[in-house]
């Protein structure tokens, strides 16, 4: 035991040194290659949701554009000043663009963007802070959720459907608002059960599947037969519960039908509301590399397929009346005939 540990340590020591060596040498040789950085929100990489999607965008840029990526995670109990320090060090190291994942980076980006006018800053989910070198990457989550509401109302036999929100924050309320409106517009008599798992600053509601499972079981007991969970990793618990009861689940953020971890429940994942965070990150990095950096509000809605519904479940494709209703609703939203609310 002791020997292997020591051997491991020795080999790793060598690794550790070389990796820091390479990173410092590349920072010296900036200018030629584009370097992009993302600063994560609470939860960080591995949250199976938002932060992971941003990372996927960075990875794609690394592969396809030859960009060198950097990442930084927040620490617990930090203030805006810490975020300013993090963004500053990323910008100072020559990263361009520097992307803040989540609205909590808004005050910090407002400050740092002034100090680095030649660096493009990406800010996801916020348009309250603007500057020529800030790109506000925002999504019409409510539009995708509206379509999920149409699906739920059409697919439900009991007339009762469920919504599970991870943490009770305005962002998740957009999902709720769109979903409820979609359900009611399709079937005014339908009942929507709504439950939030936790309240800020307790973000367990995005990370603990057991919470999602318990909430879904409660809604199933009350007669819900379609459950839409906008709860990050906690949503997988809701999918598990719905699947065990033979009811429908609607996934969120990425096409959860295709997620390896949910393979045993996928037949019951009717569809997923997708939100193309990774695409938005990739597009921003690409725009900087091409010398035409994005600026101002970059909105990803149904019209640009920035949000949408996944159709990889064959059972969903077979429900032709449902997909027809979805197509019609989508067209109406894109044409402006339906305006989807952003707050319940």
């Amino acid at each position: 035991m002791g020997l292997t540990a020591a051997a491991l340590a020795l080999s790793a020591t060598a690794c550790g040194k070389s990796s820091t060596g390479s990173s410092s040498s590349s920072s010296a040789a900036s200018g030629s290659a584009v370097k992009a950085a993302i600063a994560y929100d609470i939860g960080g990489r591995g949250d199976q949701s938002f932060n992971d999607a941003a990372f996927a965008g960075l990875q794609k840029a690394e592969k396809e554009l030859g960009v060198k990526g950097a990442e930084a995670e927040p620490s617990q109990g930090e203030s805006d000043a810490d975020k300013v320090a993090r963004l500053t060090s990323l910008a100072r190291a020559g990263n361009n663009p520097v992307i803040g994942v989540g609205f909590s980076y808004a005050p910090a980006i407002a400050k740092v963007a002034k100090q680095f006018p030649k660096t493009t800053f990406g800010l996801i989910d916020d348009t309250s802070v603007t500057a020529p070198n800030i790109a506000n990457l925002v999504f019409n989550e409510e539009q995708g959720s509206y379509l999920a509401g149409v699906v739920a109302a059409k697919a439900s036999k009991t007339g009762t459907v469920g919504f599970i929100g991870g943490v009770e924050v305005p962002l998740i309320k957009k999902f709720e608002a769109g979903y409820t409106q979609g359900v009611k517009d399709t079937n005014p008599k339908a009942k929507v059960l709504t439950q939030y798992l936790t309240q800020p600053p307790n973000f367990d509601g995005f990370s603990k599947p057991d919470l999602g499972k318990a909430a879904a079981e409660g809604q199933l007991d009350k007669g819900a037969d379609v459950i839409y969970a906008a709860a990050g990793l906690a949503g997988s618990g809701a999918i598990e519960a719905a699947s065990a009861a033979g009811k429908w689940a609607i996934g969120v953020d990425s096409d959860q039908y295709k997620q390896a971890g949910l393979a045993s429940y996928k037949n019951q994942i009717l569809t997923s509301v997708t939100k193309d965070v990774s695409g938005s990150v990739f597009n921003l990095i690409k725009s900087v590399k091409d010398g035409k950096p994005q600026t101002g509000e970059i909105r990803y809605g149904l019209a640009t397929n920035g949000v949408g519904l996944a159709d990889s479940n064959p059972a969903f494709v077979k429900m032709t009346d449902v997909t027809a209703a979805v197509e019609k609703a989508k067209k109406d939203i894109v044409d402006g005939k339906i305006t989807v609310k952003t707050a319940p």
Partner: protein, 371 residues
Amino acid sequence: MMKIDKDKLIIGAAGPVLALVSSFVLTVLVLLATGLDPIEPIRLMIDNAGYSDVQVLIVNYTGILYLAALGVAIGFRMNLFNIGVEGQYRLAAMVSALVGAAVDLPGPLHILVIVLVAIATGALWAGIAGILKTTRGVSEVVSTIMLNAITTSLVAWLILPKNFGVQPAGSNDLTTGQIPESGWFPGIDMGEGGQIYGFTFVALALGVVYWFVINRTRFGFDLRATGESESAAQASGVDAKKMIITAMLISGGLAGLAGMPILLGESHTYSLAFPVGVGFTAITVALLGRNHPVGILFAALLFAFLEKASSSLDIAGYPKEITQIMQGIIVIAVVVSYELVRRYGTRRQQQKVGEELAAGGAIKTDKEVSA
């Protein structure tokens, strides 16, 4: 006299030193076991601490931790474990931010109102636990943990836009509205490094007040006496119930102040992004600092250093979580080493008394002379 003081000092310092050394060694072992270079991250952290902006972050965070830890420590001196500092801190920051944004007063008065509201809110919240303890015998450990949970729900409800919260246009954040500039506490501008919150100096001043009250006043004596033995203190005429409530009120008031450096010096609003976890870290800081104002200051400085100097480790390819491992190990090491040192101290004392008894009645006159 001198000799006894020296003994006390060595024994007092032995605990923290033992804890720090063992936690450092254990952290290096953990890094080795996970296959990482054990020295490089620590070297990087020391490098980071050389940058002026990191130094400002460390100083500012020290002030915040110091206030919260004083709140914990005053409870500890009374043998009260106020785990609710976190909840008191958050609720006080939120309510005082609300009041601060709602009123518009001339400069110093505006700040004073915000600070007083924060103290009152924190004290009230902790006072609930104090009253439950004195009237119903509810353990303050249980009640303050529950009050933390209630704080989360209460703040989440208060900050809803339909109640008192504000959602800025285009933002997904919820805030309590911006406090007008008259309610901003001026800081010290460090140029590139940023700003040292002015309230940090209030924190340090409160450390002096804490020392004076605990060691030089009747109240402080009663507090320590009740902490040592409630029944003995009561027998000598101390109203233990009153002391419990007073201690909880002060503890909560200090916890309420812990939100002020950031609220008055930087954010000027309470939002979903307001720092959390300060109250829990403060418990460790108070433990490590042995509830002594100077000890707490060094402990707060150490924790602020660990937290802030490690924040860019992940950019260099090292997991910054090693800081949490280090802090966790410090907690365990502190508890173990204090117990070891305490036992050693007791044994030593017994030995001494034995020796002195063996030496005969000489001790009495010795003591009288020295006194």
